[in-house]
Every structure is written in C-alpha cells, then in structure tokens.
Symmetry: C2
C-alpha cells in the first residue's frame, strides 16, 4: 500500500485571487508583515499496490483529474507502507 501526498499549486504566472483575498484579510487583521499568499491544494491518497509502476499511476491521476496542467503545477511524495 502507498500513501501519496499530492501538492497542486497555481503556476507562478497565473493570478491567484483567493490568495489575494486572504492577504487582504490578513492586512485588515493587522498582519502587515504578510507580503504574499498563494493558495493551492493538498491531497492524501491511499493507493493499493497494483501491477503498474506507482509513479506512472500518480502522474496519470494528477494530469487526468487532480490538477489542471494548463494553469497548475503538481508535485508528489510517495511513501510505501505495510498494510495492517
């Protein structure tokens, strides 16, 4: 069994209105030291061992569903663990 952590972030060149809104809220709350906020997604997947290479599967999941490769980048960490 694998525990896979996937991080999806907007590409640098893409505007992040959600991040801007959070930054403005923080400024309103008097945290002037916050200069920038970018918001992304974090996903934890539990995947069973199969015949296929796990990295290949995860890349496919990311490009086909979890991330939009046009505007988002993704990275992942795979951790193998023993089934209980």
């Amino acid at each position: 069994m694998y525990k896979v952590k996937v991080y999806v972030t907007l590409r640098e060149s893409v505007l992040d209105p959600q991040g801007t809104a959070v930054k403005q809220s923080l400024h309103t709350m008097n945290y002037q030291e916050v200069q920038d906020v970018r918001i992304g997604k974090y996903m934890e997947l539990t995947i069973e061992k199969a015949d296929r290479n796990i990295e290949e599967v995860v890349n496919e999941l990311c490009t086909r569903l979890l991330a939009n490769p046009v505007i988002e980048d993704y990275r992942y960490e795979i951790e193998e663990c023993v089934a209980q």
Copy 2:
C-alpha cells in the same frame, strides 16, 4: 524574509465529502486501486521579518484565519530566505 508553507487538513474524525467525490471519480475512471482520498489546503506565505517570533505569528494566522481548529489540523514549515 520567511517563506512559510502551511498544510491544513480535515481531522481524521471529520467526513470529507470532497475527497469521497474525487475517489468515486477515480473509480469511474478505472483506478480501482485508489482506496482513499482526503483533500486539504496548501498555502505558501511570504512574511517579512518583524519584532515578533515568526512561529508565534504563524500559529496565530493559522488559528485565526487559515484553519478552523474545530474541524481542521494544521502544520507548517518555515524557511528563512535572504531578501533579493
């Protein structure tokens, strides 16, 4: 200047309908090996150095705005970097 990465996840005991929906989509797409999906938030903050301890500031940001401590857990990584 600090680069802070914040990970916000739903507590184990809280249902994650978004994760369940993604899992079902993956099953429909024939990725039967995916057993579980949990979805969280990932945030990158750029924070200027101030008089206060950075960890204290980040904990405050998380509990006051970025996470809902009733249903969510958070963890963070702080990286100090030289301003350009």
